[in-house]
Amino acid sequence: MNLVVFFVVAVVAVASALALVLRRNPIHGALFLVVNLGCVAVLYLLLSAEFLALAQVIIYAGAIMVLFVFAIMVLIPGKEETGPDPLRPQRLLALPLGAVLLLEIALILKSSVFQAAQPVAPPPALPAGAGGIETVGRLLLRDYLFPFEVTSVLLLAALVGVLALAKRKAG
């Protein structure tokens, strides 16, 4: 059952990712990204990471993508990437290079993860409620308190940065 769900979701995720890259219209791209992020959220659920799935939907779909769509609407309504592309031959170089990268990662995973994980029959299952908000929250505020604090500073920096760039001139 899970396997079927995984494959369906995986195919959708890859397809939406490809669509994001291939579609010319950025609005469509943004929507495909939302689809992709949703798929990944489902996968998180499959991996019993409920909290993360939720966060994925709220942060990504809810906040980030809205910003994206907003920016796209403001900046370039409708069309984009028309006209001749002087760099097209170079762009095409990206494909083989990307393929090589994929091949390399696949090779590592094959030699490492696939080898190591497969024979050891059932992986140690997460304890009950491991993906729940309680476990994660405890980790977040106890073991990972320091990075958590750092993220707050990070968000502060982002805030100040955006203000610096977007604020109208004082006076």
């Binding site: 995973l109 320091f146 750092v150 500073v153 920096a157 982002a158 100040v160 940065g161 955006v162 760039l165």
Partner: protein, 478 residues
């Protein structure tokens, strides 16, 4: 004060100052923000003094995610020097360019916080967050002069490429986590010592190197450097060139030397090649530049190549000379950019080689100052650049990397050409058109004086500082 917080002291000072400046920014006066610069400077100097005062103490906090050791403290000093020089240079520069806003100081402090944190982080996720904190602030600072297309372009390029490199970096963290089940550096180290050579781990390291390579701007991840250095406000350029590089090297050294010590044979070969490429590309392309900021950008790439030699050489001498060189490089580069930043021709910043023609005739002291910084970049004694290069190349020779040292010496020989060209312009050309002159700035001159003191102090009496640098890397090599 709670003893557990002592390892965080430098961080707290910088972070606290940042918060203070945020609050002060909201208070009047609204149109003049110079006092914020003074506050920020005081904070950075305080952090510098605190770091010096903590020298020799060791500690960890937050489950070992942050460490206090001499390594972190040495780099704190380097970073705080960089930040202090940049702040001194900034105040009048911002006012001249009509860009004086409180956010500038806040962002400089926040990115300094990120840098200091990178030096002290002992967990990949903390390194990642610190790196992002530093980078995000710098992306914005690079485009701080909103009215200038070049600044906006610099900011955009820096941001897109930085985020791209971050993607690789985080994937590397994921792979390393997959191999070891942890992001804590000591746990990873334990895993590398215990286990067989896991390709997952090695490749994870490779992807981390992409991220670090971007920050320290080694070939082939250096492409953004010239464009960003040219387009960004010069004070920010100086900060990117010194502070962020020091922070990048800090994390790189900690990860490579202490965590991935076992894989040393693997990454040494890699860095050997990268070092050669980096210094050669930097020096060769710098020859063809006529914009001084761009030339210094390529030169900074070349200097990263020199520093990588020390990483390759390894050991207390190799790593210690990298730290020593970082300090030297900070004084020298901040000084060189500082002179550029002070000079203007007409109402425009003097960045073209032609602007420097005949400078020695009218402003002998300033010209001599720039010439000294350039001589230090060349590695002419008795400036600090010589001592720094001597240690680096000497460490390479010591460790048996004779060819690396030979290539480096050859590179330095080539490099002398483009640095001296500026000197020739200043001393052996006559001005045509509008004269170039310095803008009045006491703080700027103070910064240059400090930088000059630095290159002579380190050039004439390098040994004590090298001893400190070697003591600083000792915790990593245990």
């Amino acid at each position: 004060m709670d003893a557990a917080l002592i390892p965080l002291l430098p961080l707290l000072v910088v972070g606290g100052t940042a918060l203070l400046v945020i609050v002060l920014d909201l208070l009047p006066p609204r149109d003049r923000k110079g006092h914020l610069g003074v506050v920020a400077l005081a904070g950075v100097v305080m952090a510098l003094l605190v770091s010096l005062g903590l020298w020799g103490r060791e500690g960890r906090a937050f489950r070992g995610m942050v460490v206090l050791d001499n390594f972190a403290l040495f780099l704190d000093v380097v970073i705080c020097y960089a930040a202090a020089l940049v702040l001194l240079l900034s105040t009048d520069y911002l006012r001249r360019n009509d860009g004086e806003r409180g956010e500038y100081y806040i962002l400089v402090l926040l990115s300094t916080l990120g840098m200091v944190l990178m030096a002290a982080a002992a967990d990949l996720i903390v390194i990642f967050l610190a790196l992002e904190l530093m980078s995000l602030s710098l992306y914005v600072l690079a485009g701080f002069f909103r009215g200038r297309l070049a600044a906006a372009e610099a900011s955009m390029k820096y941001f897109l490429l930085g985020a791209f490199a971050t993607g690789f970096f985080i994937y590397g963290i994921a792979l390393i986590y997959g191999a070891t089940g942890s992001t804590a550096l000591d746990r990873i180290a334990a895993a590398t010592r215990a286990g067989t050579r896991d390709p997952l781990l090695l490749v994870g390291l490779g992807l981390l190197l992409v991220g670090f390579g971007f920050k320290i701007s080694s070939v082939p991840f250096h492409m953004w450097v010239p464009d960003v250095y040219e387009g960004a406000p010069t004070s920010v350029t100086a900060f990117i060139a010194t502070g962020s590089k020091a922070a990048g090297f800090a994390a790189l050294l900690r990860v490579l030397l202490s965590t991935f010590k076992v894989s040393q044979p693997d990454w040494t070969v890699l860095l050997w090649v990268v070092a050669v490429l980096t210094m050669t590309v930097g020096n060769v392309v710098a020859i063809a530049q006529s914009n001084l900021k761009r030339m210094l950008a390529y030169s900074s790439v070349a200097h990263v190549g020199y520093m990588l030699i020390g990483v390759v050489a390894g050991g207390a001498l190799g790593a210690g000379s990298v730290l020593f060189y970082l300090l030297v490089y900070t004084f020298t580069t901040a000084g060189a950019f500082g002179v550029i930043l002070l000079l203007e021709r007409g109402r425009r910043e003097a960045v073209d080689l032609d602007d420097y023609a005949g400078l020695a005739g009218r402003h002998p002291v300033l010209a001599l100052t720039l010439a000294l910084f350039l001589l230090s970049l060349i590695g002419m004694p008795p400036t600090a650049g010589f001592a720094g290069k001597f240690y680096l190349f000497g460490a390479a020779v010591r460790s048996g990397y004779i060819w690396l040292a030979v290539i480096a010496v050859l590179n330095s020989a080539v490099a002398a050409y483009y640095y001296l060209r500026v000197v020739v312009y200043m001393y052996m050309r006559d001005t045509e058109g509008l004269p170039t002159g310095p803008a009045p700035s006491f703080a700027g001159r103070l910064a240059l004086a400090i930088a000059l003191w630095g290159i002579f102090q380190l050039g004439l009496l390098p040994a004590p500082v090298l001893d400190l640098a070697q003591a600083a890397v000792a915790p990593l090599l245990r």
